[in-house]
Amino acid sequence: MNPIYPILSGMLAQERRLEVISNNIANLGTPAYKRDFVLFSGFSPVKREAIDIPPVEATPTFGMIDDVITDFSIGPIQVTGEPLDLAIDGTGFFAIETPQGTRYTRSGNFTLDPEGKIVTPSGFPLLGEGGSIITPPEAESINIDSTGKVVARTSAGLLEVGLIPIYEFAVQERLKKIGNNFYDAVDQQATVSLTAAIRSGSLERANVNAPEELVAMIMASRLYETSQRVIRSADEMLGYAVNEVGRL
């Protein structure tokens, strides 16, 4: 039965790969969504002399998914003209205040809440330099410049109401995706980015490339079929061993 289990684990890995691909394309329309891709670990050779090592280590880890890595490349920028649509030009994240603590996002489709606070569409406040940013109710318009300075235009003149910092991390691949377009910093310390700029009136779209995902999908499907052929061959060989060899 030896060849069947490793091939089966390869099939399960392809199933998992299709899940990751499906999630990427389900999020084609999610602002600033970052695509995930899988890395497979190599086939570790079965040691012939492995009889005396513990059974756990003797189990070959054939065709396992080693990692799911997030590709943090910047997605295409769509110009929307809405002053509260913010795209980050460069690496970095907005900090969002949630009941679970500070979370990070690149999705910049902000809006105002009833108190005039700048919030995500789900109502979580955007964290400025000194807490959330509240715009005055009499503001006629709000402008955000590339350094993140938020200026409200009122009949009494221009009023600076806050500064939006962009945070970056030493290893952004280690951020944990938690859904709702948020990332959890886990154990990393966020530092204010000095290079990233804010583009008001623009939205970053998902960095998912549909043709690329389709090719990966075909690969997953075909590798799955190949695995099935191999299992059938192995089954035929076993059948021969059991039914024909035994007859001799």
Binding site: V20, G29, T30, T111, L112, P114, E115, T135, P137
Partner: protein
């Protein structure tokens, strides 16, 4: 095959997207219409191996997290200014800037609109096309030659027999800090909600309020080219998601032929 359920969330999301776009296109020539937009966010992730965890000998730089698809976060309106169109209607009024006209419904509740194509009813009151009076009500005397409405909302009637123009009322506007939080009730009307914030009433031209333009209507702020592009992207995204479901199905088919 969980991949099929994940892709199904993508289908549902793109369907909502197309619905919002279709509504925008259907209302491209609706006076005072504000275009809608659908926002999406990714669903929870299943963490099979946490980033930063240890496998005994080394700290893993990345982990295995598999997402579970997408969900709509909001579908709200974008209250940017629409373009102005000159008309000959004395009671066609556009708002240049922020604010809404207030309309009294039959049940006495006050609702809000940017659609300023008003008429006169048989008693000379300024009403919407459906006959609901504006709030506060303004009535025009029967012997009026013409009516002028100033940018600050002052309504003056010029009597037929000559003489000086008489001020018959002042238009009032209502504004909200977050108009995207208003509830759309159709007929170009919006209802107050907790999400929109406290209603502030003022005269046109007051700080924070727009000015009124007579013999002008505000066209919808729908940009057909932009909506078409969005529709193409939504349709293609829908197709790609359906391909993922098909692939999942194909793979299930393979499983069925494993055992002869």
């Amino acid at each position: 095959m969980r991949a099929m359920y994940i892709a199904a969330t993508g289908l549902a999301a793109q369907q909502l997207n197309v619905e919002v776009i279709a509504n925008n296109l259907a209302n491209v020539s609706t006076i005072g219409f504000k275009r809608g937009i659908a926002n999406f966010q990714d669903l929870l992730y299943q963490t099979l191996k946490a980033p930063g965890s240890s496998n005994g000998t080394r700290t893993l730089p990345v982990g295995i997290q598999v997402g579970s698809g997408v969900r709509p976060e909001s579908a709200h309106r974008i209250f940017t200014q629409g373009e102005f169109r000159r008309t000959d209607g004395e009671f066609d009024i556009a708002i240049e800037g922020r604010g809404f006209f207030q309309v009294a419904l039959d049940d006495g509740s006050i609702v809000f609109t940017r659609s300023g194509a008003f008429e006169l009813d048989k008693d000379g009151n300024i009403v919407t096309a459906e006959g609901n009076s504006i709030e506060p009500p303004i009535s025009i005397p029967a012997d009026t030659e013409s009516v002028t409405i100033s940018p600050t909302g002052i309504v003056e009637a010029l009597p037929t027999g000559g003489g000086a123009a008489v001020q018959v009322g002042t238009l009032q506007l209502a504004r909200f800090i977050n108009p995207a939080g208003l509830i759309s009730i159709g007929r170009n009307l919006y209802q107050e909600s907790l999400g929109a914030g406290e209603k502030v009433v003022g005269a046109p031209g007051d700080p924070g309020f727009g000015r009124t333009l007579q013999k002008t209507v505000e066209w919808s702020n729908v940009n057909i080219a932009e909506e078409m592009i969005n529709m193409i992207i939504a349709q293609r995204s829908y197709e790609v998601n359906s391909k993922a479901i098909q692939t999942g199905d194909d793979m299930l088919g393979v499983v069925n032929t494993l055992k002869r």
